[in-house]
């Protein structure tokens, strides 16, 4: 950078090197039609996925569109709140707004009957005992706290079933 020349009144004055400019913008987030439908069912403790009419894949949560075919996912499929861990990560770093005690496990969970794993927490088991193929079930927040949000599922925990063999979820790892 070229040297700048200052007027006399700025010579020898401690320069400003940075400014603080906090900025906050408020938005109204819209979930959209498919997500709203899904979340309204979540509030009733039901997981209702949507199915693509072309490829027949079942998406939970649905976003209204088959990502590979680009058509509306119109069919509805109710799923149980159990699934299989396809892969996971042990988090050892505290994140903003994150009240979790570390370490904790974030896992990709393939809900039974769905075709795309969701990311959620695994609890009630030491982090180092989580393995791929582990069968898990949702633990919901108390009934009076349940609402139309995925936060209604507090976490997943092992459901005691034997680990699923790799062949059953091979397509997803």
């Amino acid at each position: 950078m070229a040297e700048i020349t200052l007027p006399p009144r700025l010579e020898g004055v401690e320069p400003v090197r940075s400014i603080r400019v906090p900025a906050s913008i408020h938005y109204r987030y819209t979930a959209g039609e498919a997500s709203s439908k899904f979340l309204r069912e979540v509030a009733k403790k039901r997981l209702v996925g949507q199915q693509c009419p072309l490829c027949k894949k079942v998406y939970v949560p649905p976003r209204g569109c088959c990502p590979t075919d680009g058509v509306p996912t119109v069919g509805e499929v109710e799923l149980k709140d159990t699934g299989t861990i396809t892969s996971f990560c042990i988090v050892n770093v505290p994140f903003m707004q994150n009240l979790m005690e570390i370490p904790y496990v974030g896992a990709l969970i393939l809900l039974d009957g769905s075709d795309l794993p969701i990311m959620h927490l695994i609890q009630e088991i030491p982090a180092d005992q989580v393995v791929p193929g582990m069968r898990v079930e949702a633990v919901w927040v108390p009934d009076d706290e349940i609402g139309p949000t995925l936060e209604s599922i507090k976490y997943f925990r092992p459901n005691g079933e034997p680990d699923a063999p790799l062949e059953t979820y091979k397509e997803h790892v």
Binding site: I19, V21, A23, Y29, A31, G32, S35, C65, G70
Partner: protein, 351 residues
């Protein structure tokens, strides 16, 4: 240069708030409609390019999820600009000129309803001198309008006439949001909104999306009975600081118009992306559009202004009129930034 044409166009019914649908849901039917009208399926598209801004709805990477609406599988050749979709057309046109694509699909979308668009657009400004003051988009346009009024470049009556003409034109446009048979004199009686601007001088706040398909040479003739050929396309930018520009004119539009060849023939109609009445007057002057030119027969951005898609809509509206045979030579324009800082001009012709 290869001959490249707009062969299909679809747009949403723009509205103050399309709150029942998220961006994917808003766009998906339009993609089907545009491809259907051209008689193609997605496997024939060689290149996809989109325009949107994360800031509008407050979602980083919103364009990432919105791509799902196209169903990009098997993997596709695709790109995205954080600019109005008109610039996505430019990128696609360049890609086609380089020989990498014969059919390109361009889409753009913008939802202004989730945030306060006037405050959101202030985030486009110089982050040191301007952003901390939160000057909003209407205020900056008002400064420009006063400069023009003071200089005698245009009058408040002419501005109201633009508003009235746009609303009357929008009556015939099923996609427009603000339409009606109204007299300029009536509009002038309204109180000031942000003086010297009155409410009628400002585009409505809109949610909306648009899709446009480009094809080269014989493929264009296959996909459309009367393709709208891109005879010239160019865009130019000006200094950012308002104090460094003559706000009463648009030097960048003038230059882009010259480079795009606006004057190489008679212009039948122009679709100008002017979110404020006085900006239409500035743009018309910069492009040298005479009295015989039909300006914004769609109602323009004053009829609906889905930010990030409004420029693309201008191209689509102009192309549609050529394809219908209403016009043979049209100018489409898009703008970006405060007080017309950046402008794109495209010249379209029938066979």
């Amino acid at each position: 240069m290869r001959d490249i044409a707009i062969v299909s166009f679809a747009q949403s019914h723009h509205a103050r708030a399309i709150s029942t649908h998220n961006e994917v849901e808003m766009l998906m039917p339009l993609l089907g409609e545009a491809m259907g009208a051209a008689g193609i399926t997605k496997d024939r598209v060689d290149f996809v390019c989109s325009g949107s801004s994360d800031y509008l709805a407050g979602q980083p990477f919103s364009f990432v999820m919105t791509l799902d609406a196209f169903g990009p599988w098997p993997p596709i050749s695709e790109s995205h600009v954080d600019m109005d979709g008109a610039w996505a057309v430019y990128e696609a046109w360049v890609k086609m000129q380089s020989g990498h694509a014969d059919i390109a699909l361009v889409y753009a979308y913008g939802k202004s309803s989730p945030g306060d668009i006037r405050r959101v657009l202030s985030r486009q400004l110089d982050p040191y001198y301007l952003q901390p003051l939160w000057p909003d988009s209407v205020a900056l346009a008002a400064l420009q309008a006063r400069a023009g009024l003071d200089a005698g470049t245009f009058t408040a009556e002419q501005m109201a006439e633009v508003a009235a003409r746009s609303r009357r034109a929008a009556v015939d446009n099923p996609f427009a949001q603000l339409a009606g048979d109204v007299e300029a004199a009536t509009l002038l009686d309204a109180p000031d909104f942000l003086a010297p601007l009155k409410m009628h001088d400002c585009a409505p706040v809109s949610d909306g999306a648009a899709v446009l398909i480009l094809a080269a040479e014989d493929i264009a003739r296959e996909l459309s009975d009367r393709p709208a050929w891109i005879r010239g396309i160019d865009h130019r930018i000006e200094p950012h600081a308002l104090g460094l520009r003559d706000l009463t004119t648009s030097a960048s539009t003038r230059l882009a118009g010259e480079k795009a060849g606006v004057h190489h023939g008679e212009v039948d109609l122009a679709e100008l992306h002017a979110p404020f009445t006085h900006q239409e007057l500035i743009l018309s002057e910069a492009l040298g559009l005479g009295d015989g030119v039909s300006i914004n027969p769609s109602g323009g951005a004053l009829g609906a202004n889905p930010v990030m898609a409004a420029g693309l809509v201008r191209m689509g509206e102009a192309a549609t009129r050529i394809s219908r045979g209403d016009a043979n030579r049209a100018v489409a324009h898009a703008t970006s930034g405060p007080c017309l800082q950046q402008n794109l001009v495209c010249v379209l012709e029938g066979e």
